[in-house]
Subunit: 264 residues, 2 copies
DNA sequence: GAGGCAAACTGATCTAGATCATTTCAGAAA
DNA sequence: TTTCTGAAATGATCTAGATCAGTTTGCCTC
């Protein structure tokens, strides 16, 4: 029936008016008629298969993209040739902010899954920015949001243990996938262990080992790309580097007299 | 004579018209009269002493700032209480982009030196954005630039050796300080070893050791905060992880028969 | 259902850089 | 000048995670 693999992702027609994601769209505050009038400048519902590039590092920037469904990763190819994953993007997120200044993409983005993505031409972007103050504000807000998100990744990478990184990553995924906490959650890891490792500044083997350990601790059940979070409270503990077996803090004694023997 | 320590930084009057940094200013493309008309919304030449905060993480955002002279660092305080340096900012750079979306600063910025900084009220920012298309474009371009810069820091941190990190950091400083390459350069490190270490995802001792090693290799002369770059070509080699003493690659043999003894 | 293949997992070993413990040094105060 | 103080340098040791070397697993294709 569905030979394309996309039909289930498209419950609506090829129009902004019926878009089931319009609440998350960059242009959400424009009236429908505004957008429809500029329809020629929007490429709606472009289909990407797993592994397809949305754009490549070095490409001239033609569009800003909005992920409607599916998932993508963005990466940077270093001079030495190895690639560094710098982000994962899900429905509602905007792609292409890296090229507004220079017109050249500083990163590549590719689909991790069959994905539907809309493109706003740069021309439309400029036009809306000058004619529509609300749109412009929304755009700048998203820029700012992106900068704060980058900070978070820096924090995640900096001086955290492998276990913390993986725990934080999983919790972040839970939030972004919109799952509520405190119950058994099924998570479909759309990215490979190597992708996660690159993103977290680790090596695939380490990610694998940490996931296995977390499984042994009863926090989750791992079955390749299918993850089942069983105990997210414990996951939170690990994300703060407070594993179960940790000894009480030295100052747990405070309030009692400290034996002299411990001071000398 | 100059008891304030600031006079030498201010060769011009307290006006945008005479500002010696106007070419680098966010509002550079506005005509002088435009800006002067909005003068009440610009706090010109605010003086900060070494250690003063320009703003703190969690503060409500009142202004966008432009560094006119001096230097600042931005940092994030983690939940555990330790601080992470995420950037250094010199003349011409804009501060405060992290709070445009939420109105709350996600990071703190403090002066590393006596610094002169101008503040644009958020109100002015909004006004210029709606009335002046060129200003708005410039602002968005700077946002995009900031995002790309964040990518660079991610690359710097990710999977690079301590020597690479320090070498890249020094080369980056050379560029940002505007020094031309290929000659002996005097560099005044305005930040501490601890700041550099935090920024590079290392520990102060490691930064110290690497600088000492670079000195032994004849690349630079270290005298606390005064650095003298003697051989920047070698620094470039180290930044690519190609130190001098490295053995020839294994495939240097290719073309010759490989001795069986090496295979077993 | 067999064969092929790439991702994921696991165990053994190694090492870059962290940690801990001093020492040195430069600038400020007295 | 001497003393004081905090940053920086240096040496010795330790360890988290990388690296290397397989093995296992799930998923194609025929």
């Amino acid at each position: 029936m569905d030979k394309t693999g996309f039909t289930h992702l498209l419950p609506n027609k090829d129009s902004c008016h019926d878009c089931f994601k319009k609440e998350q769209c960059l242009a959400k505050q424009l009236t429908i008629s505004d957008v429809e009038g500029l329809s020629a400048l929007i490429s709606k519902n472009i289909k990407y298969r797993c592994g397809d590039y949305i754009y490549r590092q070095g490409d001239t920037s033609e569009n800003i993209f909005i992920v409607k469904s599916g998932a993508t990763k963005s990466l940077i190819n270093s001079v030495e040739g190895n690639e560094l994953v710098i982000g994962f993007h899900f429905a509602g997120e905007v792609l292409g902010f890296d090229a507004i200044d220079t017109n050249i993409h500083a990163s590549s983005v590719l689909a991790l899954d069959n994905s539907i993505i809309c493109g706003f031409s740069r021309q439309l972007l400029d036009r809306l920015c000058t004619t529509d103050a609300t749109f412009q504000k929304e755009l700048i807000a998203r820029f700012s949001h992106e900068i704060v998100r980058d900070y978070q990744l820096l924090i995640l990478i900096n001086k955290k243990t492998a276990e913390q990184r993986v725990a934080i990553f999983l919790l972040e995924l839970l939030v972004r996938m919109g799952s509520s906490r405190g119950q058994v959650i099924h998570l479909n890891l759309v990215m490979s262990r190597a992708d996660i490792a690159s993103y977290l500044g680790l090596v695939p083997e380490t990610v694998s080992r940490v996931l296995s350990k977390f499984e042994r601790m009863g926090m989750l059940v791992v079955k390749k790309k299918k993850l089942q979070i069983v105990n997210d409270q414990l996951l939170v503990k690990y994300s703060n580097n407070q594993p179960l077996q940790k000894l009480p803090e030295p100052n747990a004694m405070e309030g009692n007299a400290i034996p002299l023997a411990l001071l000398y």
